[in-house]
């Protein structure tokens, strides 16, 4: 009997089972049964612009409570302006030049930041999965930009799902984390977020991010900027579908998903 | 209900050290016209042994208690922790003895703490008492958390003519008695009762009232050592007082 078998034998004995009587998971389906996610998914799918606008309000309020800076924009161009302004105000914490690290995502590519900064001493990097210098770029970056797949309105929580081109460290290592969030990505609460996560086949590593990093270990005094970002900025993008629509009107979540899944032929060149 | 004969279950500490509390209960019941009797063979519910882990000894005390009180219509006690013992520990002690368990549960179902009996069973909140002064109320752990009796004593106190109830901070935090804990870990116990006393003093009340003499003895002992003039009263003493001034 190897050590793992022995471990399990001990556990089974403790539970009053035969030491060698392995209990296969498939004989206990009720253990792994979950409540039906369909009602939550249906709720998400059925949300129209008005409901999304409500969720946006909730998110903005919760963001303030969690020390998150928010911006409401209705186009990528406006989002771009926000980022540019932010970059210009930022003093790099860990390097001399201002390095920006962007997730490999069409919306972020759509900001065309490498063009905006081509004549300034700002280095714009994209986290391409094949880049062998990515770690160094990440460590040097003062701003990391992501485009979260899901965000929870109730608590202003971003769900950052990592994968090729979207490393875990972009929302963590740079001093400032900027999230470009489409309002269609909003869900009401944790339950809905879990329902969406449950739909993904092989769940990557992911993280719920609610506010900048913080600590209260010294005399319970709250200080922001412990080991992660000192600041978190959410740029909430609500694109009107038709001219004349309100800023909050948005495309249904389904079409947003499709757009993301298109091949990223528009990815920007690496700027430095 | 009010003419049901109450069997007095006088906690051993009340019997031996604070008999006036038991007498106050009798005075109160007499005034309310509640007939009562005192089964003379009662001793101790077994709590000290149980809390120290001596379950065999506690079980024997419980057997004795059950034998003494088994024929009682209703059992009323001026101590939340003893009632808690009967209600929640007896079933545990006799978990493997079905016959005893049934007897224990039958007795437990008829055992009440004083304020619980008056308010929940008899629906009384005004008992014709008067007390002129301010009091603050200490929630004993086994009464408040164990039996869920929180409002009943307060309702009764508010029904006392001339009495003003001032809530202290953290009234439901343990006073640090804990039975043998108070003797085995006196430094911790004292630090706890000091906080309790600081809260009592900060309330500005002239007296502290409680429903469990163990806590009150702890508070009284430390108040006396610190030389603080606050009075310590059992709820029964306040409720027994009719037309008397504070401090009776």
């Amino acid at each position: 009997m190897n050590s793992e078998e022995k471990f399990f034998a001990t556990v089974r004995t403790a539970l009053g089972q035969a030491a060698d009587g392995e209990r296969p998971a498939k004989l206990f389906p009720q253990l792994f049964a979950s409540p039906d996610p369909r009602p939550a998914l249906a709720r998400i799918a059925a949300r129209g612009p008005a409901e999304l606008a409500e969720l946006a309000e909730t998110l903005l309020a919760a963001a303030t409570e969690n020390r998150i800076t928010t911006y409401q924009v209705s186009s990528l161009a406006e989002a771009e302006a926000v980022v540019v302004e932010l970059v210009r105000q930022t003093d790099p914490e860990f390097s001399h030049t201002r390095h920006l690290l962007c997730h490999d995502h069409p919306d972020i590519a759509g900001l065309r930041l490498w063009q905006r900064f081509s004549r300034e001493s700002v280095a714009v990097h994209t986290s391409f999965s094949q880049d062998q210098q990515l770690r160094e770029k990440t460590i040097a970056a003062c701003i990391g930009i992501t485009a979260p797949e899901i965000a929870i309105a109730e608590t202003a929580t971003l769900v950052e799902i990592s994968g090729p081109g979207r490393p875990r460290s972009t929302s963590l290592v740079p001093s400032i984390h900027v999230a470009l969030l489409r309002s269609e990505k909003l869900v009401a609460d944790l339950e809905e977020a879990y329902a969406l996560l449950g739909q993904r086949q092989q769940l990557d590593s992911f993280v719920f991010v609610t506010g900048p990093s913080k600590t209260a270990d010294i005399e319970a005094t709250l200080v922001h900027g412990a080991h992660g970002p000192c600041e978190l900025h959410i740029i909430l993008l609500s694109e009107p579908t038709l001219p004349g629509d309100t800023a909050h009107s948005a495309q249904p979540a389904e079409s947003a998903k499709q757009r993301e899944d298109t091949p990223e032929s528009t990815a920007p060149p690496e700027a430095g | 209900m009010a003419n049901t004969t109450v069997s007095l279950f006088i906690q051993c500490l009340v019997d031996s050290m604070f008999p006036e509390v038991g007498e106050a209960m009798v005075t109160l019941f007499d005034r309310l016209g509640i007939p009562c009797r005192f089964p003379p063979d009662q001793t101790c519910c077994g709590q000290p042994a149980f809390n120290s882990g001596y379950r065999r000894e506690a079980a024997d005390a419980a057997r004795h208690f059950i034998a003494v009180f088994e024929d009682a219509e209703v059992i009323v006690c001026p101590s939340g922790s003893c009632v808690h013992m009967v209600r929640h520990a007896y079933p545990l002690l006799f978990a493997d003895e079905p016959a005893m368990l049934a007897r224990a549960e039958a007795v437990a179902a008829r055992t009440f703490e004083l304020s619980q009996y008056l308010v929940d069973q008899l629906g009384l909140v005004e008992v014709g008492a008067s007390y002129h002064g301010t009091v603050t109320y200490h929630d004993s752990c086994h009464l408040s958390r164990g039996l869920g009796v929180i409002d009943q004593p307060r309702q009764l106190l508010k029904g006392v003519e001339g009495l003003t109830l001032i809530e202290m901070r953290d009234s439901d935090t343990c006073c640090g008695f804990g039975g043998t804990f108070s003797v085995n870990y006196p430094e911790i116990s004292t630090a706890m009762v000091d906080t309790k006393i600081d809260n009592i003093l900060a309330s500005g009340a002239g007296a502290v009232v409680g429903c469990d003499i163990s806590c009150l003895m702890n508070i009284l002992g430390r108040l006396s050592r610190r030389g603080e003039p606050v009075q310590v009263l059992h709820l029964a003493q306040v409720l027994a007082g009719a037309g008397q001034g504070g401090g009776q």
Binding site: F206 | G53, G221
Partner: protein, 491 residues
């Protein structure tokens, strides 16, 4: 009933009570978090949630073999490795072997009580590996050379001046007592360690069998760093820290962050289960699942419930004893009410007898616990083991003198006449001790523990029973029943 005045528990407790820093910090901490949690449970929109989570915790424990097997299978499918460690030694040996194989020179740690329980730090250090705590509070106590004293606030016993001096001495920065400045200093010092370490070593708040991931909760971001930036990530978890499904995970997580710090969610909740997809991030993941005495707890129906604990620390934030003595008195990886139950079970009931006895059983911990763990019941059960000894738990009778005293007590309380006579005798014996204020201010023997700081009301000259009998002379019917009760005092 000997006074264990020389015990380590009492000694450390006295130190804690004497520390004004600790007292101030604990007090404000408990007021904010402990009482806050109590209020929160009352206001919880879905009051059934606590019961549901408790039920799912117990169901998981009842099927732990199945759920752990499926967790391991899923983690392996993601490219992670899983090691099942029967003992603390096995776990430490494995972690050291992983470190050696990867030529690790520096390990960065995320706060992990299980790692303290298995004692892996000294093992790594003995092999010449630098071990750095990266949670700010843990880092501070590590610099101070002290153990942590609270699950979520490890340096609650230190004030800003002490921390300022420590940083000035150890980090070579200018003295400051400004928390943001101190935090920034630690941020920079630790960033260097976090980015240069070859191994991250963390605990695990909750593993999820359905997805094959572990989840880690933090506010600082150090745990995300330690699980992302070093090439190797090792997570140690007690074998009970697992849930079956994501649905259970969600509800358990919600109770965890609420119980711990009243947050609906903490700043970071990360889910990892295998190597990262990106070059330059963690490329090896090891999950070490530790028994180390838990199977023994699992096997005992009286104690299985304690494994439902989700280590939120809420019970520390409400316990009036912990609130006075702080964490060091518990002399174990786990302090407060949960430590008082789990440490004796993991490390020996006799060894931690003071933890079993040193509470008042006030019940606040049970009320505040998100999964309503009945810690007072289990403390009482532990005392039961100490009262008579227990083969199952390798426990000796703790105090034969006390056992004798309770046997004597039984003799009295089951014999009313003898009991009454005993009371009268005690009343006589106490007389010389009664002072002018009708109080006893000095006793000898065990009762000295009381009178060292408190007066003791004397036994009354006439008991209630005696007074009653005087007013209600026995009717023939009652007289028969009390025939043996003849020695009643008549004063």
């Amino acid at each position: 009933m000997n006074r264990p005045s020389q015990s380590n528990y009492t000694r450390e407790a006295i130190k804690g009570i004497a520390s004004t820093t600790l007292q101030t910090n604990l007090r404000s901490f408990q007021e904010r978090l402990g009482q806050g949690a109590m209020r929160m449970w009352v206001e919880l929109a879905d009051p059934e949630k606590r019961r549901r989570v408790k039920a799912s915790r117990m169901r998981t424990l009842d099927h732990l073999d199945i759920i752990l097997a499926s967790l391991a299978e899923k983690v392996r499918a993601r490219g992670g490795r899983v090691y099942f460690a029967e003992t603390a030694q096995d776990a430490s040996d494995y972690i050291l072997a992983v470190a050696r194989k990867n030529q690790v020179k520096r390990v960065v740690k995320g706060k992990s009580m299980t790692s303290i329980e298995i004692g892996v730090d000294p093992v790594l250090e003995a092999a010449g590996i630098e071990v750095v705590e990266t949670d700010l509070g843990e880092y501070i106590v590590q610099l101070a050379g002290e153990p942590p004293s609270h699950i979520i606030a490890p340096c609650i016993h230190l004030d800003r001046r002490q921390i300022g001096r420590l940083f000035a001495d150890q980090l070579g920065i200018d003295y400051s007592e400004d928390p943001p400045t101190l935090t920034r200093a630690a941020r920079h010092a630790l960033r260097e360690k976090l980015l240069s370490a070859e191994m991250g070593l963390t605990g695990c708040n909750l593993a999820c069998a359905e997805t094959g991931q572990i989840s880690l909760v933090s506010n600082e971001g150090n745990i995300r760093m330690a699980t992302t930036m070093p090439p190797v990530h090792v997570a140690v978890m007690g074998m009970e820290r697992v849930v079956a499904t994501m649905a259970e995970h969600r509800e358990t997580l919600q109770l965890l962050t609420r119980g711990a710090v009243l947050q609906k969610i903490s700043t970071y909740v990360s889910f990892v289960g295998g190597p990262a997809d990106t070059p330059g991030e963690t490329r090896e993941f090891h999950l070490v699942i530790v028994d180390n005495g838990r199977s023994k707890i699992l096997a005992d129906p009286e104690f299985r419930e304690v494994l439902a604990c989700i280590r939120c620390g809420a019970c520390l934030n409400i316990c009036p004893v912990y609130g006075k003595i702080g964490g060091h008195a518990y002399a174990s990886a786990y302090c407060g009410p949960i430590g008082a139950v789990v440490s004796p079970l993991l490390e020996g009931i006799n060894k931690h007898a003071d933890l079993c006895k040193g509470e008042t059983l006030c019940g606040a911990c049970k009320e505040v616990c998100p999964v309503e763990n009945d810690l007072p019941r289990m403390l009482s059960a532990l005392r039961h083991k100490l009262a008579y000894g227990s083969d199952q738990w390798d426990t000796r009778q703790m105090n034969p003198a006390e056992a004798f005293a309770f046997r004597l007590w039984r003799h009295l309380v089951t014999r009313p006449a003898l009991y009454r006579a005993g009371l009268r005798l005690a009343a006589l014996l106490q007389r010389p001790f009664i002072g002018k204020n009708r109080m006893i201010s000095r006793m000898v023997g065990p009762a000295a523990g009381w009178t060292d700081s408190r007066d003791l009301p004397p036994i009354a000259r006439q008991s209630f029973a005696a007074r009653w009998r005087q007013k209600h002379p026995p009717t023939p019917d009652v007289a028969k029943k009390t025939a043996e009760n003849s020695g009643e005092e008549k004063v």
